[in-house]
Amino acid sequence: MIVIEKSHFCPVCGFNFYKYSGELPWNGNTPSDDICPSCGIQFGYEDSIYDEKKRNDIYKKLRENWIKNGMKWWGDKEDMPQNWDPKKQLDNLK
């Protein structure tokens, strides 16, 4: 059984980053330096701050921008899940 935890998802767009890459976006306070194929954030770059509230504020801003720009898939088409639904994906963050 695969346990899905909140830490598996991109905190900006809700993409299941762990399922895609086998790595967490952040492992505790250590960023993966990887890039989310869904929204394009690089964990440890745009969100490189260790205060949880401040980091969440950054995610909120990036999420708003991503939504405002049409929730476009950032990465290669072949990495896009079948029937990808960005709106539904955002539900992973609730």
Partner: protein
């Protein structure tokens, strides 16, 4: 290889397996091979200061140990693997690189030459090494198996700090 000679000399002397006097003659030659700055040691041998030289070689061996670790780490740089695409897409223009190969090679070259003075280095709790050149504003990270994780030029427009040096200083991990 040259670093290893200094390292072995240091280990044997420090472990007390061979006394300094016995090592002095061999250590002189090892030192000149191991550390370019110790090349003049042969002259000292000729004036009969073998013991002092052995001490110097032991110290040089310790330095070589640190440098050697860094060099050994970077000598195994493998490239990005399948993650090259996205890092190229995001950061290639920062280096003026047009192809994935060009960008990937620049990253490899940067890491392989990152043992130079002035290049800052940290290893995070996951064993990922980050290196930063503050003069040219270039940052790279790589795993302990030599796989590159990222290679880019930080920009305060994208990260939450006023300067790129502040961004670097905020990175977790200890320096070597």
């Amino acid at each position: 290889m040259a670093y290893d000679v200094g390292r072995i000399a240091s280990q044997y002397i420090n472990q007390g397996q061979v006394n300094k006097e016995e090592w002095s003659a061999l250590a002189l030659d090892a030192g000149s091979m191991a550390i370019p700055g110790v090349v003049g040691l042969g002259t000292i041998r000729r004036v009969g200061q073998g013991l002092k030289v052995a001490d110097k070689v032991a110290d040089a061996g310790k330095v070589a140990d640190k440098v050697g670790d860094a060099v050994n780490g970077v000598s195994e740089v493998k490239g990005f693997g399948k993650k090259l695409n996205y890092h190229f897409k995001k950061h290639a223009s920062e280096f003026g690189t047009k192809t994935k190969e060009e960008y990937g090679q620049k990253a490899i070259d940067f890491i392989k030459n990152s043992d130079k003075p002035g290049i800052l280095r940290k290893v995070d709790p996951e064993g990922v090494t980050r290196v930063y050149d503050p003069v040219n504003n270039i940052l790279a990270s790589y795993k302990s198996d030599g796989t590159i994780k990222t290679f880019f030029k930080p920009n305060p427009v994208n990260h939450p700090y006023k300067t790129n040096l502040e961004y670097w200083n905020a990175q977790k991990g200890g320096g070597l």
